[in-house]
Symmetry: C2
Subunit: 354 residues, 2 copies
């Protein structure tokens, strides 16, 4: 299992995803602001993983608090939560995890727990978020394996793998689930400019797992699909609106349009923590615009001339009608998503079999 993120007594430890695959460097964040900065600068990325990181960051920050009284402690707690919430705007798992920490804190306060008791409770809650995410990924893998035919050639975009989660992955969890179910699969990974999560992270994870993987530039997806060599697309998600519209890494929408043009089923794999019933549709999902330098520079080298404009939206939205199914830890949700997504939160087992 890949060590994406782990808690130590006095730190949150993460593998530095900016340096993979060239170097495996671990970053030890000893304060909440250091965790926030790691999220912002993409030391760690991937919606479920940054949810875990934010929760662990809050718990770490409060563990180190010098506050004696619960009032001062509470003030610090909400400030740390605010700091974490300001790191990145699109992935809803971040806000979901912070909300869970707040509910946990509220429960402790109501029960009249001491500062030390609350610290323990926050640590446990953050660890629970981590452990549940891992379990969700494994469940997604088991459910998702159903839609993967034997000898499937699967295209994925960005990294929705162990590195994007507490472990195992969402989209890559489905691929791993299919392999564990005895199916043969090969993977085509879009390199995912500008940050190259596909070329660097997905390729690295899958090669480690011995799953045959080919990297293509994002621009090749159309040509490869037209050759008839892709059977299935599976991607992750950063936020799924109530109607099924899905924000994911920039380029996902392009892949979805291409998949439909070539009659290739396009699946999204994400835990319920990525589904945001308070966002009615994709138009209401805030899309982060990141620094132009991510596009203009690579490996310290400037690619573009001075004087040119740059766009760098980190995500795009795929409308729900492009999506064949949303693979969750409670089964595969199908259209109409407005109903199936809501129902998924109400029951323990909403599985749709193909």
């Amino acid at each position: 299992m890949l060590p994406t993120i782990a808690r130590e007594d006095d730190a949150v430890v993460m593998i530095d995803q900016r340096k993979l695959p060239a170097r495996e460097v671990y970053v030890r964040c000893k304060t909440a602001p250091e965790v926030a900065r790691a999220i912002k600068t993409m030391v760690i990325r991937g919606a479920p993983a940054i949810g875990v990181a934010a929760a662990m960051g809050v718990a770490l920050g409060m563990r180190k608090s010098q506050a004696r009284g619960t009032q001062k402690f509470a003030a610090e707690f909400y400030k740390v939560c605010e700091l974490m919430a300001s790191t990145r705007p699109t992935a809803v798992n971040l806000f979901w995890a912070i909300e869970r920490m707040k509910r946990s804190f509220g429960g402790a306060a109501e029960a009249g727990e001491s500062v030390d008791q609350i610290k323990d409770r926050l640590d446990r809650e953050a660890q629970a978020i981590h452990d549940e995410d891992l379990a969700s990924c494994r469940a997604m893998g088991a459910f998702g394996a159903e839609v993967v035919p034997d000898n499937a050639r699967i295209l994925t975009h960005c990294n929705a793998g162990a590195l994007a989660t507490a472990g195992y992955g969402t989209a890559l969890g489905v691929i791993r689930g299919a392999v564990e179910a005895g199916k043969r699969v090969t993977v085509v990974a879009g390199e995912t400019r500008p940050f190259l999560q596909g070329a660097r992270l997905t390729a690295w994870e899958l090669v480690r797992d011995g799953i045959e993987t080919t990297v293509i530039t994002d621009s090749m997806a159309g040509a490869i699909m037209r050759q008839g060599t892709i059977d299935l697309v599976v991607v992750g998600a950063d936020r799924i609106a109530a109607n099924g519209d899905t924000a994911n890494k920039i380029g996902t929408y392009t892949v979805a349009v291409l998949a439909r043009e070539h009659n290739i089923p396009f699946y999204v794999a994400a835990p319920l923590s990525t589904i945001d019933l308070h966002t009615p549709d994709g138009q209401h999902i805030p899309i982060e615009e990141r620094n132009a330098r991510e596009v203009t520079h690579l490996a310290g080298s400037q690619l573009t001339p001075v004087g040119v404009g740059i766009r760098n939206p980190a995500f795009d939205v795929t409308p729900h009608h492009f999506i064949a199914g949303i693979i969750t830890e409670r089964g595969i949700l199908r259209a109409p998503y407005t109903e199936s997504l809501k129902r998924a939160f109400e029951t323990e087992a909403v599985t749709t079999r193909t």
Copy 2:
């Protein structure tokens, strides 16, 4: 005017397109094999430009020939032609230019010209190919301007500019023609991985011309189109088959699918020398697969892990039914292309006005 390629007495001089925009370095090729190597390694690229380069390379090689007798001279000539033809397989302008040089040579031989006379004739023919290409680009610009609305936001892929031709450009020629016709245009340039012709070359050319240009990663094209901010797509071509199927830089097909999804007209701009009536359709166009290193490395830095597969087709084929029109030096050709392409070679003025 950009100095893409020029002939000197003892050399063919090219700007090194691999080093732009960071550095403006000129390469002086003093022999035919040096020209061939420059084409192969993409010192110069772009279908019309490599046609000019091949013709100048042949003329240069023969200028430097020590052969006295016409028979030895002829043997050398055909060997040099073969060398040039072996550089790159997809762009038909290369073979078209070599054929023109062969016809010129044949005419000289028939006329009983001396070796020195043939050398002069080959020099003139290569220069004519250069000059005609420049004139063709200007004509494409004038015709193409008609389909560009005022305030058009134009997306282009790769570099079909002055650097890809003898000057002025095909797709960028259309943009320049629209500007010269008094239209306001802004351009979105796909960066065009792996070689980054869009981010490096198109951006550089247009910034020099003072045309407002924004670079996006190729993966952003879908999201940008969905926002309704693109009115028109114009790209170049490396080979157009008899039925209008068009090979162009990898990623062009993806852009064409996206353009149709968003009801954006998709135009190809190319001179008749890019149209190959001997190739019936796109399936018969040979697609060059280039070295994996172009995908795996950037600025000397390795992006991908060891053990992963790589695909690097340099071109893809856009089926003719995605194409709103083919802008040539003889006017804008429209579907059915099987007829309009053939007719373009038969008459002097096949213009279709919108």
